[in-house]
Structure formats: structure tokens, C-alpha cells
Symmetry: D2
Subunit: 465 residues, 4 copies
């Protein structure tokens, strides 16, 4: 293996200029991305250290020296004064090496009854737990702007689509509250993920537990966990918490993508249902009236990336034997990227909803095509004339066909024309043919009537927590 | 558009012999797969009907006729006497058409204040809810066999791996209990999914709610839901419940794939840690001693399929505008396939764990290489001699190097040889160098000591619920 | 293991009524889906048999008996007279067992110098090769209808969008020809996949090759392969051909999904650019004018399923040791499903394009908003007045702002008004402000001018092959 | 919208300290990652500029100024002296702004007859084309080390596995050459992707082509493309080239993952087939003999990440209407990451194969269990005694059972013992029972015999190109 570097340069075409050692460092070191864990790492080390003192595994003096050293390091990193080294591979070794510089060989006592395997599992869990909390906070903010916008638009009428075809008129407030429900479920999913991950791996050591008389309940409690994990091998092999976060984020990103798709569509010249703010659109130097809905498009596009991250980690974890395999180092970049991306799209969506200007006129006008109250007519026939629904459907179909032929909407037909189709129809029918009466009548629980939307809004304010 | 069929045959190469109508029927009809929902569909219809009677929307007589008709149809399908028609597209229309045959036009009253959109959402939710319950039951059975096997093997020693390299000895019971933890989390995930989906969409109608004076709380309660959904548009647009099931199943399938990978490896000639039963292996007519671990390999392979299903539905749902789009019909096949596949791998894994024969001798023998108790030695140096962990590491490294040079394991060194490396070492050190003492000493909470495993087992029996 | 069945019933909740044997049969048998390979299997066996005769490994008489038997079996399966047995696991064993029934123990000679591993690889390759050919044929048909539709609509003007915002006018023929290009690349991808898979695995035997003096070139040639595979272990381990097919199908499905999305949007009440035919839409009994674009939505939705299949097989193949692992049995269901699905969406898209009715008026009208010829104005300023592009942009921006203020389009401004912004502007500028002149001017290679579209169409007719 | 920033801080919990403008900049700007395209961007601009001069669209003087300016900028970026600005969003605007600083408003002429849409498509294609070339070079290097290692190990015997069970002996050189085949297909896939992408989008302008008399054939040729793209709308909407690269990389990563899995397994204490070099393993301060195969594990793990990237971009592109949507900006990060990751795993695998030390003794010893030559015995019975294969299987099975009972391998049976099972067996049979004779006999094309492996190696040296 003499002259490895030269051979490498010849063989591998100069892409890795340092030869073998450069390749290994690049593929192996994680410090570039795992330094983000430094607060969690130091917090975990401090509590581990306190426990070692409590259990008389190390002395009080050593414990104080270690804790002071760790706090000093945290300050250095906070201040941007810490030099990270790729040769030291990861955040744990970088901090430990610095601790040795500061307090000498006593630093070596910190790693008693601990290993990098349980340490990284603890750090990463703490970080994902924070990400759950931040997701909850961000979603709550998004829910607030949705509720406010829904309240303002409780009686604004817009076509309700199925198959992107006009189906029934609904209120825009109602439409927005549908997203409130989705984000409610998302928050619950993050809360469940948080609850489930909240067992502390610290003390599992490399994989087998330890012979030191440690107190895992103490560290678990001090770090805000509900309890220590039950099985040391599972503790260091488990990455479910990252997978569950990514699942919840993917499902939530689907919701964002749907609203983003609607916003892009609502903003186009053919719809003009809303106008997005300058803050979330880009213009064109040549077409100053143009508002490209970039942020909405990016929200939609980035949802694919979050799903890609979930998929990636599922693939990486599949079929790994217990306990730690280095493949598992791939858990972090995808999770960090997904958390950043998710945080960004929720913030952008919150801003877009808050800022969007509703064109109630265009929305209303769009309901004036497509015989959008045909269902109301059919329901009237059932309710008032007592016919079975399927027969009522048939009658309504004939009336729509008649209106289409005549070139008018349903309320453009005369009573006589209607009675030619069904003699029992009375003039009372005209009460249900307007879009206002249509939405106003749908007062079933969760229905689209403005009164019901306001009830939903009030309830939402309570439910939001 | 005359002679469409002939043109089609020319153009599309004969793959769709019936031309256009055949293509449309093939792409559009769902009856081939959604007939699986018939029990849920009939159950939902019966409760909807009862509610229509309670609220005086239809008469008692009509209600009784409809319910009797539906029960007759359920009997027909149960008995295999029902002829499904692709022309009638889906399970809902097939049942309604048959109901009309049986009770005449009164059948048409059943669809009052309901649409296929809320109906299919209800049916599918009921079905996924059942799937959650079955997953829980199946996982519980798997946990039982794991607990039993762990109890039997609480003191059987096996190498604990990191990077598939011998790291520390552990007990096989402990290793199995790691999977108990994973499946515990899986059950909790299914339970959370079930809890979250348990809101009833019935009464959302097409998308806007209804003007009929329905009682959504009645149907929700009768169908075992906690409450009706809060928003009618969300009710018919939402497929989160399927996505969440698929997420939980994917994460759980990862666990199955890991154990399956281990079983395949443990069964190979180089390991011989276990022998799988004839029931879950296939042989060879030519090599009668051969036991191909087909079922384990299929468990591992099929986990990819479940992840594929999750991915597929996430993709399909992304960017869909509210409310119902026909894309959403793609929700069912992937979910049905994933549920069937998941159910199969859990059952197969349960059987494999129960049946596997443990070769304790081979396991133990495998711990006799690789200086597997080096960590115990280092811990002893820390604990007894009071040196910092990193120094202890250094001393241990020197002793291992010495043993390697001498061609023996650590307990093959003499005390004198050890003292040349570190004079303070006493003969007491030999107490920690055997694999038995190593595992025996790891009594920290969740550690691998046989006594601790038995505690975990006892606790698991309580926790399993 | 006595009373396995009862235990199973207790433990696994009755979902697998036959107990262990039922689980194993369900998870292991492939006959339900691999019977689709029967033609390929028989074809491969016949050529293998002929080669065994040519090389004197078996006698002519035996060879004739075997071939006749196989042809008889093919006839039986064609006619639906063959009884498949799950106990015989797969198509290969089903056929071999039947051959033994027909010709006795001579049947056993067919398997000389062959194993199920090379046999299934050959069968599956032949099947995927056919699927490539069918994809090519189907895509060609789709290209024809696109060319025809493009030719008919070479001068129909429609807004060209970026960010779904009106950007520049284009011709609808040009828009359709963009898809011609996509499907051209797709065909090339399938052709490359076919070319690459076209090496024959037969004769690789179980994995190591054989000591029989077989002639692999003979069978390769007879089965239409370019050559035998070079390495026997690769031959039985390789499923690249399925992965490459699924990749090509996924990319092509993306194209279909984009056109489908456009069709759904073009069909909505706000756009009304096209009307889809009854053949590919569904109606509503209550709203007879309604045309739900179900087939387009399903094309869009099913693209997610094809991507899911690709993902699934990639996951399953990842990390498998050589040579055959049973995981690889998972290759077939996803591939078969993807081929069926892909075939369906291409056929449906072909029909939808052919049938769609273009509303040229609505398309044109949609270009009359958004100052869609602003770029033409800027280009005129550059070309005629000689200003740098960025300055021209600035001038155009001012003119658009002026027009917006005045409430007219660009050609609604007077020359004087224009000259207030830029004095050098002449009346010649009005020649470039209409959408007709805009599209007419874009005669650069591949541009949207009707003349250029007709050239593209003519070229396409040559290129289509 | 006054005091947006304050509101943002309140609502969005301080995660985006700059409020709205910060969110938009973060979600919208691409300069952080697309600066990697600077060489391609400048190259494209220079050729576009030359063409504008040739076609008299801009003057020679302006052309020279622009080209000199661009070259100066390239030098600045090369030297690390260029300040990138997120406010200028992307690499194109950053370069254009700097060009204006250097040469004044003449810079504005460069953008004549061009838009960012065709510019970015061109840049990205050029970059992916380079990535294809680098992949080819890297794979070729990997093939060379495989060939060399195979040649060295042409007669080293190792168990050939199916289901990870001993099946037949093979040569290690043969096993390695299986990977040569896989990487040969991979190179062909990248070559096809390169060929297919090699059409130049430049001149498509925003989407419709241009009215300037440009010469797209000139720029296409100058940039090394085979021709200009045929359709301007497709030109700016198409990201097939990235998807196809990602597909090829994913399939190739599967191959890497399989070899990596084998290496991890071959390195464990139970196998000891190979020893990996220090360069690609990490040790343990406590267990100096330990060699954790980190690089192999990371190769295996990172394959999941590449598949995730493919999946991500497929999802993002699905269902996008023509032409450019901002979602498409998501194409770059996943592609850049996948190219970097892929490059890294190929380089690491090349080094690992080159460095690995083969333990021929352990490999051979592993073939001495499992009656691994049973197939040879059966083949002998067919070939010499003329029995049908299935009968030969039965006889072999009986002999294996006899040997198992006697506790010996097949060649430990006496001739008399064999003749009790099948009287026609002669002592000649012993010639086929050793693993050496087994592998030596498999001389069929592509078989595992050392002589055949050396032929394959020689052929590979020719085929490698």
C-alpha cells in the first residue's frame, strides 16, 4: 500500500485530491452536520456527570471541574469561537478533546459508564424532541391565522369543487377551516411522537448496560424524559423517533402542498380568487403587474423533499442487524434537512394565509355557472314532495337539461316550466335555488352555513390549546 | 367518434380489446378491490337509515324495509351468492342496485342526506380501524412469543455486535427483548392512529353538509366513533388515516426486517446460532439437510413493499385541491395490499420466533473470539484502580495487544504479564474477564444481566396489556 | 410442535385459519401472480430442450416428447383448462409436474443443466422485454394522436404559463408538441432498457454454470437475445432489467401526470379550454352537464403508484448478498402491477387526447389579460431602438404600469402616451403587440410560431419511426 | 402590513428572526447551492454572446466586452474572491450584476434572446453531463480494481450462496466479476442518459422561442450538444435528464450496497473471508484488533439516500403544469447531493476492493460444510449413468442423508455405501466430489471454473473501453 495517494490520484481521476485518507474522512466524518447537536450533547453530559457524582462513581471535585469545563465550551460554541475538527469526526469527540485541553485528564472520567452509542441516541432524541415542540408552536401559529381568516370570510361564497368541477357552493371560511382540522391532526401526531420518544437511552452504554452503579432514573428525569428506556440494546439501535417525526412531517407537508396548490390556482388569471402579497411573490421587471406565487410553489415542491427524506431513512434502517451499524449515521442529515424544510414551509404558509387578499366578487361570480344548486333542488324535492332521493335526482336532471337548453341558470326557469317536469313543484322551490340560501341551509354539524362556520371557529379557539 | 372501437384497436395495439369503453371501465371501476368493504358499507348504511328514521326524515316502515334488505344482501355476499358488476363501478352502487331489486324504489330513500363521498370515507375509516385492531392483536401475539423465548434464554450468552463486529457479550433473552420494545412502540403507534381517525365523516354529504335535520352524533356513536368530524370538506378530502396506518406499518416492518435479517444470518453455516423450523423453511430435493429461510427472507423483502405503498399514497395525495378528486380512489389498493402484507409478515415472524431452535453452544463459542470482555477489563481499571476512563482504555488496549501477540484471550494472560503493563492490577481482575461475569455484572436498569432480563420479562408481562 | 394449528389459531387471532402451513403457503407461493409468465416459461423450456438435443445431452426422442408435452400444456393454459396448484408454488413447478403427468419420467430430463434460478431470470426478462415492446407501441400511438391534434391546432392561441401566470402567448399545437418530445425520450428509454437487458441468463444454472457441454449461444439466439450473459452469478442475482423498466415507466408517468393535470385544469369552469369526451368522463345523475374528468385524474393519481413500485423494488434489492435470495420474489408483483397500470394510463391518455374538443375561443380570450405581449414590446425596443435588454425591460415596465392605470391592454395605449415614456418609439411598435403577431414572430428553431409548429409536426412524422 | 416584522416575531415564535422578508429569502434564494453551476453558466453565456455577434444581434465590441467581463468573473470565483449575494437570488443574477459593475450597461445586452428559464436548463444540463462523465470515469476505475482482484483470485474457492446457505462452491474471482457486469450496465446507463440529454435548450427563451434571428445550432454545437432541443416549451419544462441520472445512480447504488453488505459480512468474526484495510475501517482505543467496516456500512447506508433523492424529484415533478413552476428549483439540491454521495461511495468502494486482503484459507474451509458438491454428484449421475435429472436428485438426496448420518462429507462415503443406494455408481464418482473438481468442471460460458474466469477477465479488459 505504498504510495496510496499517487495511485488514488491516478485511478480515481483527481476527484478526491487527498487520496484514500481524504475519501475516508469525507465519508466518515459527521462533524459538519452533527455540530448542530452541541447544546443537547453538553446538556446530556452535564446531567450524566451530576449523576456520576451522586452515585459516588466520580468525586465532587472532578464533577465540578467537568461541568464548568462543559459550560465554558458551550459558551465558546455559542460565541462562534470554537474550532471544529473533521479529524475528531463528530461533535462528541470534538467536545471531549476540548474538555481535556481545559481540565486535563479528569475529562476522561466523564465517559465512565457511557459510550458514544447511548450518548448520540440521547442527543438526537433531545434534538428531535425540540423539533416536535417547535413544529407544534409553528402549527399553532398557522392555525391562528387560519381561524382569523375563516372568521373574516365566514359568509364569503366560493364554489366547492369535486374533480375540480363546480359541485356545491360553500363558504370560504368553511374551506379554510378544513385546513384547521388537518393541522389539528398534525399537531396531535407530533405530540404523540414526542410522548413516545420520551424515554432516555443514557446509561445503555455501548449496548449492554454497565456494571457501574449508575442511576438511570436520575438522568432521565433531569433531562425531562418520562423514564429510562427499558432495554439497552434497543436504546442504541432505535431510530423510530426520527422516522416517526418524518412521517408526521410528511403527512403535514401533504396538507401544506394541497393548500399551496389551491393558492397557486386561486391566484391565476382564470380564477383570481385571491391576491397574494408582495412578500411571498416575485415580480418581473418587464411585467410589473405579475405576481409569481413562488413561495406557494416552493411549499408544494418541498413537500416532495420531505417525503424523500422519510423514504431515505426508512430504506437506510431496513434490514440492519442490532445494535449500532454505521449506516445509522445517515439518520441525521435527512432529519435535519427535513426539520429545516418543514419549519420553512409552515412559516411561509402562515405568512401567505395571513397576507392573502380575498376577492369575494370573483369567488361569488364563479358560483354562477354549472347549476351549482342542483343538489339543493333535489333535496327540496325529497324533503317537501317526499320522493325518494333517486327519483328526485331524475327530476333535477331534467330541470337542469331544460335550463341548459334555455341558456339560463335554474332560477331562470319559470314555475310553469318546472311543473311540466314535475307538476307538484311549488313556487317555494325558488327559496332554495340561490347560492346564499344553499350555503345558509347547510346547518348540519360541520356544515358550510355561515352560522355553523362561526360555531366551528368559536370551538376551534377552544380546541387550539 | 364513430367506430371508436375499431380505431382503438388499430391505434392501441389490441391491448384493450373492447376499445374506449373497456379502457374506461378498467381504469375507473373499483369494484374488484373495494368489495372488501361490504360489511363496513352495510353497517354504515344501517346506522344511517336508523338515524333517518329517528329524525323523521324517512318513515319507520321504509326504515325497516331498507334495513332488512341490507341484511339480506350482507347474507348473500357472505355466502358468495352476490354477483358483482363492474358496470356498477363500486361496492356502494352494487349494493344500492341490489337493494332496489329487493325492496323497489324505497331503496332510493337510503341515500337521503348522504353522498358517496362521505359514505366511502366512513367505510374506509371503519375498515382501517379494524386493521388497527388486528395489527394490535397480531403484535401482541408476537410479543408473547418473544417474551417466552426471552425468558427461556435469559442466560444464554451470544455476542453483542456493533458494526457486525464482536463488541460485548449479551444474553440472547436480552437481545430478543429489544424487539419487544420495538413492537411495543408499534402497538402504541397503531393505537394512536386508531384514536385519531375515530371521528365519523357520515353526514358530510358530498362536501358541504346537508339541509336535512340529521343527527350526526347518533350515527357517530352507533358506529363506535368518538364524535362526528368537525368540518364537512375535510371529512371527504381526508385520507390521513390511511397514511398514518401505512406509516406505522412501515416503521413496524423495519423492525420485522431487522429481525428477519438476523434470522437469515443466524441460520447460515458460518453462524449456526439458530435452526429454523421446517414450517418456515424450504428444502432441496438434492440437499436434504438444507433449510432455506424463505419466510424470513420474504419478511425482509416485503418490508420494502409496505414502504412502497406508503410512498405511493403520499405521492398520490400531494397537491390535490379540495375536496374529492378521483386520484383518491388510489388510496385503497395500496392500503389493502399493505394491510394484507403486514398481517402476513407479523404472523410469519410470530411463527418463526416460536419455532426457532436456539444453539446455545454455537452462540457461546462465538463469544470466545475478539477479546469481547475488553470493556469489562477497562471498567475494572476505572472502578477499582480509580483511573480516568480514557487512561483505562489505553491500558486495556495494551493488554489486548499483548494477548493477541501471545495468541490467547485476555484471561490467558498471567498476572505478571498484566502487571508489566499496569503494576496496580491484582488477581481480582480475573473475576471480570469471563463472558459469564461480564453479562452478570451489567445490572444497570435495562442491562443485559440474566437477573435484569428476568425483571424485564416480568415487567413486560405487565406492560403488554 | 404438536397441535400447531390450534396454537396458531389461539395466538394469531384466527386470521390464518390453516395455521402455520397456511401462513407459509400464503407468504411463499408465487403461482397466483407468476402464472402470467407461462408463455415465456414454455418458450424458454422448448429452446433449452432443443439445445440439449443438439449438444447430445439428451436424445432426440426425449427431446420430441418434451417439446410436444410443453406445447400441449401451453394449449391447455391458453384454453383455461389448466389447474394451477399453490402447493406446487410457482409456474415452473406447475408446468414440470404436468409434463411428468403427460410424458412420465422423461420430463425429468428437461431440467438438466438448468435450475429454477436461471429459468425464472430468463422468463422474467422475456416478459419485461415484451413489456418494453408494448410500451413502445403504445407510446407511438399516443405520439400519433398528439401530432394530429397539434397539426389541427397549429395556429390556435393559448396563454403560455410560467408559475401558472400568463407569460407569453403560444400556440396550442406547440404546447402539445412539447409532450411529443417527452414521449420521444420515453420511447428511447424503453429502447435502451430493452437493448441492455437482452443477454440470456439461461445456462447459468443455480449460480455457478454447469459441467454439461451446453451451448448457451444457441439458446440465447433462439430466444432473440443478443448473447448469453457473461457471468453466471450475476445472471441469477440481477434484477436491473426490472428496475430500469420501472424507472423509465416512472419518468414517463410523470409526463402523463403533467398532461393529466393540465387536462383537469383546462376542463374546469374557470378555464374551459377543452371539453373532454363522454368516454373518459363520468357524469352525475343530478347535474347532467357535469363532466368529471375521472380518467385524467386517475392517470395523475396512478403515476404515484408506479413511482411507489419503483421505490419498492429498489428497497427490496438493496443490500442483498449474492446470489439468489427469496426477497427477490418480490420483484414480480410490483413489476406486473406497474406494467398493467402504465399500459392503462397511456391508453387512456391516448384516447383522451384524441377525443378532446378544443375551445379555441376560450383559449384566445384567456390571452387578453396580463399584458401577455410585454416581452414582444421589450424585444422590439431592443431590436429596433438598439437598447440593451435590461433598459428595454425598464421601459416596458413603465408602459405596462401606464396601461394598467388606464385600464387597457398595451395596444390600447396611444403612440403619444408611449412616447412620453420613450420618445423614440414609433407606430411600428403596434405590429408586435397583438397575440397573433407575437406567436407569429417566434420562428426561432423550436419556437411557437404556427409555421414553426408545422415544421416540427412534419419533422415529428419522420422522427416517429 | 405595517410592522410585519414584529408580528412575525410574535406569531412565528422567533424561528425566523427577520420576519417575512427573511422567510421569503430563505425559501426562495438558491444561490447557496446553485453557485456550483458558475462554470457552466459562464460557458453558456460566452457561447450565447458569440452567437449574438455572429448573427449581428449585438456588435463585436459589445461581444468582446461581455466575454472579457465573464472571463474575469470566472477568475474571481475560481480564486474565491467573489461575493455571492442572497438578495440576488441565484447564480445567474449574481454574475449578471457583477458583469454590470465591470462593463456597465452593455452587460444588459447579454440577456437578449435568452431568459433565465433556458439559461438554467442549459447550465444544469451541462453540469449533469459532466456528472455522467465523472460517473463513467469513476466506475471504470472501480472495474479495473475488480478485474485485478478477480484475476488474482481466479482460483480461490469460496462458498456460493443462495438464501445465504451454502449451495455450490465458486471461485472468488468469479464472484467479483459478477460486480464487473453490474458496473458495466451502470456505465451504459449513464452513457445513455448522457446521449439523451445532449440537446441544447438555449434559445428557447422564457418558453416560446424568440423573434430575434438567433442561430441555435451554433450555440448547441459550441457547447458540445448534438443539436438544439426541438420544442421551446419542453426545453424549459424538462427535468428528465436529472431524473434519469438519479435513476441510473440509484440502480448503481444498489450494486454498491450489495457488495458493501457482503464486505461487512465477510469481515465479521464468523466469516473472516477478508480483512479490510486500516484506511477504510475505524478501530477502538480499547480493542486494537477491532476493524469496524465503517466505509462499507456508509456505502450501504448512503444508497438509501440516493434512492430518496430520486424519489424526491419524481414527487416534485409530478403533476406540474407547463412550463416553468418554481417547484422545479427543488431539482438541484437533491441532484447535487446525490452526485456527491454517489461519487463518494464509488471512490470508497474502489479503495476498499483494492485494499482488501483475501483470507483464502477461511473461504475454502467454509466450503467444507453443507455437502456443497451434491449438485456435482447429481450431475454425474445424469451424465454418466444417463438417469433423468429428477431421479438423480433423489439418489443424491439419499447419499447426502447417509453421509449426514455417518457424520462425514460426501467423499467420506465408501464406494460400497454408495452402491447400496445406487448399484451403478463407480469409483469414478469421487473425481467430482471435491470442491476443486466442482469449480473446475463448470466451464460453460460465464461459468465459475478458474479457466473460464480468466477468459472473462481477458474479455473484460477488452470490453472496458
Amino acid at each position: 500500500m505504498t504510495d496510496k495517494k499517487t495511485k488514488a490520484n491516478t485511478l480515481w481521476g483527481g476527484r478526491f485530491e487527498g487520496g484514500v485518507s481524504d475519501i475516508m474522512e469525507k465519508i466518515n466524518a459527521s462533524i459538519d452536520f452533527d455540530k448542530i447537536l452541541y447544546r443537547q450533547d453538553i446538556k446530556g453530559s452535564i446531567e450524566h456527570c451530576k449523576m456520576l457524582v451522586t452515585t459516588d462513581i466520580i468525586s465532587s471535585e472532578d464533577g465540578i471541574a467537568i461541568q464548568n469545563g462543559l459550560r465554558q465550551i458551550e459558551g465558546e460554541i455559542d460565541a462562534g469561537d470554537f474550532e471544529f475538527s473533521a479529524a475528531l469526526e463528530d461533535i462528541h469527540m470534538n467536545i471531549e478533546a476540548r474538555l481535556t485541553e481545559i481540565i486535563g485528564s479528569t475529562a476522561g472520567r466523564l465517559h465512565t459508564a457511557r459510550s458514544r452509542n447511548d450518548q448520540v441516541a440521547t442527543d438526537f432524541k433531545l434534538w428531535v424532541r425540540d423539533a416536535c415542540d417547535q413544529a407544534d408552536e409553528a402549527l399553532k401559529a398557522l392555525q391562528f391565522v387560519l381561524i382569523n381568516k375563516a372568521e373574516e370570510n365566514a359568509d364569503v361564497i366560493i364554489p366547492g369543487f369535486t374533480h375540480l368541477q363546480n359541485a356545491q357552493p360553500v363558504t370560504f371560511g368553511h374551506h379554510l377551516m378544513a385546513y384547521f382540522e388537518m393541522f389539528t391532526r398534525d399537531r396531535a401526531r407530533f405530540a404523540d411522537a414526542r410522548k413516545r420518544l420520551n424515554e432516555c437511552p443514557l446509561g445503555a452504554a455501548a449496548l449492554a448496560g454497565t456494571s457501574f452503579p449508575i442511576d438511570r432514573h436520575q438522568t432521565a428525569k433531569a433531562l425531562g424524559f418520562d423514564r429510562p428506556t427499558y432495554n439497552s440494546m434497543d436504546s442504541v439501535s432505535d431510530r423510530d423517533f426520527a422516522l416517526e417525526f418524518l412521517s408526521a412531517a410528511s403527512i403535514s407537508a401533504i396538507h401544506v402542498s394541497r393548500l399551496a396548490e389551491e393558492m397557486v390556482m386561486w391566484s391565476c388569471a382564470q380564477f383570481k380568487f385571491i391576491q397574494m402579497s408582495d412578500s411571498f411573490t416575485t415580480g418581473s421587471s418587464i411585467m410589473p403587474q405579475k405576481r409569481n406565487p413562488d413561495a406557494a410553489e416552493l411549499c408544494r415542491g418541498k413537500s416532495g423533499r420531505i417525503i424523500g427524506s422519510l423514504n431515505s431513512l426508512l430504506i437506510t434502517m431496513k434490514g440492519l442487524v442490532l445494535t449500532f451499524s454505521k449506516d445509522m449515521q445517515e439518520d441525521k442529515e435527512v432529519t435535519f434537512d427535513a426539520v429545516e424544510t418543514y419549519s420553512l414551509i409552515i412559516a411561509a404558509m402562515t405568512g401567505m394565509v395571513e397576507d392573502m387578499k380575498v376577492n369575494a366578487d370573483h369567488m361569488k361570480k364563479a358560483t354562477e355557472v354549472g347549476f351549482i344548486t342542483a343538489t339543493d333542488l333535489a333535496d327540496w324535492v325529497v324533503r317537501v314532495l317526499g320522493l325518494p332521493f333517486r327519483n328526485a335526482h331524475h327530476i333535477t336532471g331534467s330541470l337542469v337539461a331544460l335550463a341548459e337548453k334555455k341558456g339560463c341558470d335554474l332560477d331562470g326557469l319559470t314555475l310553469e316550466e318546472m311543473q311540466q317536469v314535475e307538476p307538484k313543484i311549488t313556487k317555494e322551490v325558488f327559496n332554495v335555488l340561490s347560492v346564499e340560501s344553499s350555503v345558509g341551509s347547510r346547518v348540519s354539524f360541520g356544515g358550510t352555513a355561515p352560522s355553523e362556520v362561526l360555531k366551528q371557529v368559536a370551538l376551534a379557539k377552544e380546541r387550539i390549546g
